[in-house]
């Protein structure tokens, strides 16, 4: 398959993630959508690494993986701690500050 096929596949997944962030109200699902976006980029990186014959892309994937893991730990802990306080994690309820 040509490179463009992989890249467009990746763009498609990325956009699905973007839409997920915009339309869902559950922060967990928003968070999953962001993971989806990151993975879409990873697909690009692996494909590029293959087609460009360079290791940089795979290295990026590896780093993104680690970053995502760290982000998940912090993010989930934050969501849980908010849940414990207000028993509600709807992001639309979080708009005390505005203007």
């Amino acid at each position: 398959m040509p490179l463009s096929a992989y890249l467009i596949m990746s763009a498609l997944l990325f956009t699905i993630g973007v839409i997920g962030v915009l339309i869902r109200r559950n922060p967990l699902i928003i968070f999953m959508s962001i993971e989806l976006m990151l993975n879409a980029v990873n697909l690009s990186f692996v494909a590029l690494s293959h087609f460009l014959d360079s290791a940089d892309g795979q290295m990026f994937v590896f780093l993104v993986l680690t970053v995502a893991a760290a982000e998940v730990v912090v993010g989930l802990a934050l969501i849980v701690s908010i849940y414990r306080r207000r028993h509600n994690i709807d992001v639309d309820e979080m708009n005390i500050m505005r203007g």
């Binding site: 915009l22 339309i23 505005r98 203007g99």
Partner: protein, 660 residues
């Protein structure tokens, strides 16, 4: 030459710092010691420098002293320096001298105010800023001083911030001054682009391309017009009368508003490079002089009469500068500082005696009770009316003479018209000044009896209702009115003396004493006058006519109001037009403010509901409205924010897709 100008700058700053930090803990005497001391010593330093300068040969009178060498990287350099030459010397003397008198006067005027220390701190700050403006040796620090005097004016107009009208006035002044500052900034950047430097020594000897020179000169004049309340940026000055009266005298009559006149004189080589800009200066000056004088004819609030008169007199000064006679402009600035400060202080004394009353309809007959004030007020009125031999006569005469001479020299009919406007304005000035004088001092006291119908002048009513600082509890009984204390009357007397003799520093060429014109000889060391020299005949014509106009004006006022002022409703449309200040405020309100308010109200109601409190008015509402509208974007919803980000992304991506 002894040069103490640095101390003139630093002493008021020191005073401000001391008062600002510790003023609230200090007893009144200490506050006065610091406030007066700072200003008095500054005046002393200025005077010493002045006499030392007089003793120096004319060619060596300019001293450009770099105090602080600031930034220097490549072509980019900035120094802070003090330029002491006859022009800045004159200004320094006026600023610190009149400033000192007003400091003294304020001690009496503000005696009952709880924020006594704050007032003196602000006054010292103003003196510092004004001195900075005057003696900076480059445009950048001119801008600094320019901005700081604006700030000081803003603070002092809003000094009685409990009055809503005072706050609104401060805002208006601020907004218009910002327009001027903006013009000045643009001019400075143009200068920098053209000349590569900002110090006067370099810039004023630099020759700019014609178009650039015109642009620079016009932008500078925008700044001058805003600061000196010329058409069409004059609206703030009458409102600025909300401040305490000494402030009106110092800032809004004698010194700050003349900064524009000073700037034109300072930057005259730039103006010389652009005849078009000079014509604009002269034209605007003449138009403003006439326009403001007509408004002043029928005002009822005594301070507003004086405010419009100030605008009109400033117009005279620009008129002189527009016909290349810069020293005449400065001359009138000086004499005007004397008699206008005196008029304001006298008005202040009247207001003080009547416990905050400013409406002419409730005065009258005060000659019997306020002798010193009345006498000095009379002198000042004669001076501003251009009656020989008072100060105003000499300076006004020189201006009108040089306008006529310039018209004669160029053969341009517009300058004859300008001259005619000047004569007409002189007559009107005499009329409204004596209308004011008779209104206050002649006839019977009307304060106790008249109930003013409120459909005449809303502003006055509002001020009364909100008057703070003066405990205004009904009209004052005639017998309880008494003249001011010495602390206030001494400055009045000194200023009165100056208003009488101040003119002799100017030109006496009229009487065949061509060499006896100290100021005119003093200033040209700094600026080479390009003024047209008229023949003696022309001078006599001009002088005679202006004197005649003045006498006629006084006569008319005597006829109408000599027996005391009587306010009559007049339904003549022309009268109504002038009485309502040409409806400028109303038009602005209708054209700009009300639609903006309505628009933003509708928008905000549509979007959320109650948002805009009706309290904020003025042009700032425009920005407020925009701002309030724009902050609606910040909905507080995380998902909306993400949408905003995506919108940005899509715009960028599509831009590149289309562009390829």
């Amino acid at each position: 030459m002894t040069n103490l100008s640095l101390w003139v700058l630093l002493l008021p700053l020191l005073g401000f710092i001391i008062l600002g930090l510790a003023g609230r803990f200090m007893p009144r005497t200490a506050i006065l010691a610091v406030g007066w001391g700072a200003c008095g010593l500054a005046f002393l330093c200025a005077a010493i420098s002045f006499f030392s300068m007089l003793a120096t040969p004319a060619a060596q009178r300019t001293s450009d002293q770099v105090v602080y060498h600031w930034i220097s990287a490549g072509t980019f350099s900035l120094d802070f320096g003090l330029l002491l030459d006859p022009l800045s010397m004159t200004m320094l003397l006026v600023v610190t001298g009149v400033g000192l008198l007003i400091h003294i006067y304020s001690a009496g005027y503000m005696a009952d105010d709880p924020s006594f220390w704050r007032f003196f701190a602000y006054l010292n700050f103003f003196i510092f800023a004004m001195v900075m403006l005057v003696i900076a040796n480059n445009f950048l620090f001119l801008l600094v001083g320019w901005g700081l005097v604006g700030l000081a004016s803003y603070l002092l107009i809003g000094f009685w911030y409990q009055r809503r009208s005072a706050v609104a006035a401060a805002q208006k002044a601020f907004v218009i001054n910002v327009i001027g500052d903006f013009g000045l900034m643009l001019a400075i950047f143009l200068i920098f682009q053209g000349a590569g430097r900002l110090d006067y020594a370099g810039v004023l000897t630099h020759t700019f391309p014609a178009a650039t020179a015109t642009a620079i000169a016009l932008l500078l004049f925008v700044a001058c017009a805003a600061k000196s309340a010329q058409l069409p940026l004059y609206m703030w000055l009458p409102d600025a009368m909300e401040g305490p009266t000494p402030v009106s005298a110092l800032i809004h009559a004698a010194t700050m508003v003349t900064a524009g006149v000073y700037l034109v004189a300072r930057a005259y080589p730039l103006f010389e490079q652009s005849p078009a800009a000079l014509a604009v200066v002269a034209g605007i000056g003449g138009a403003t002089a006439l326009f403001a004088a007509t408004i002043a004819l029928f005002q009822l609030d005594i301070k507003r009469v004086l405010a419009y008169s100030t605008i009109s007199q400033l117009g005279y000064m620009f008129m002189a500068e527009g016909v290349h006679n810069y020293s005449a402009g400065i001359f009138h600035l000086v004499t005007h500082a004397f008699f206008k400060a005196l008029l304001f202080l006298g008005a202040g004394a009247v207001i003080h005696a009547l416990a905050g009353e400013q409406d002419m309809r409730k005065m009258g007959g005060l000659w019997g009770r306020l002798r010193v004030t009345g006498l000095t007020f009379l002198i000042a009125s004669l001076a501003i009316s251009g009656i020989i031999p008072f100060a105003g006569f000499w300076s006004k005469d020189e201006i009108l003479g040089s306008v006529l001479a310039y018209g004669n020299q160029t053969g341009n009919v517009w300058y004859y018209i300008l001259w005619a406007i000047g004569i007409l304005t002189a007559g009107m000035t005499a009329f409204y000044m004596f209308r004011l004088f008779f209104g206050i001092f002649a006839g019977d006291y009307r304060g106790a009896s008249v109930a003013v119908n409120d459909n005449t002048n809303g502003d006055v009513e509002e001020q009364e209702a909100a008057a703070a600082g003066h405990h205004h509890a009904g009209p004052v009984r005639y017998n309880s009115i008494h003249d001011v204390a010495p602390v206030m009357s001494i400055p009045l007397i000194i200023l009165a003396i100056l208003s009488v003799i101040g003119g002799f520093i100017g030109s006496m060429a009229l009487f065949g004493l061509p060499n006896w014109s100290p100021l005119a000889n003093f200033l040209p060391a700094a600026m080479h006058n390009h003024a047209a020299e008229g023949s003696l005949t022309l001078e006599w014509i001009s002088t005679g006519l202006s004197l005649l106009a003045g006498v006629l004006g006084i006569g008319m006022a005597w006829r109408l109001y000599g027996k005391g002022f009587a306010f009559k409703q007049n339904s003549n449309p022309l009268y109504q037009l002038v009485f309502h200040k040409y409806y400028v405020d109303e038009i602005l309100n209708a054209v700009l403010i009300i639609p903006v308010l309505a628009l933003s109200r509708t928008l905000s109601r549509y979007l959320e509901g109650d948002v805009l409190d009706g309290g904020s008015r003025g042009i700032s509402t425009l920005f407020r409205g925009t701002s309030t509208f724009m902050r609606r974007v910040q909905t507080g919803y995380m998902r909306n924010y993400a949408l905003g980000i995506l919108l940005g992304v899509v715009v960028i991506i599509v831009y590149y897709a289309v562009r390829g």
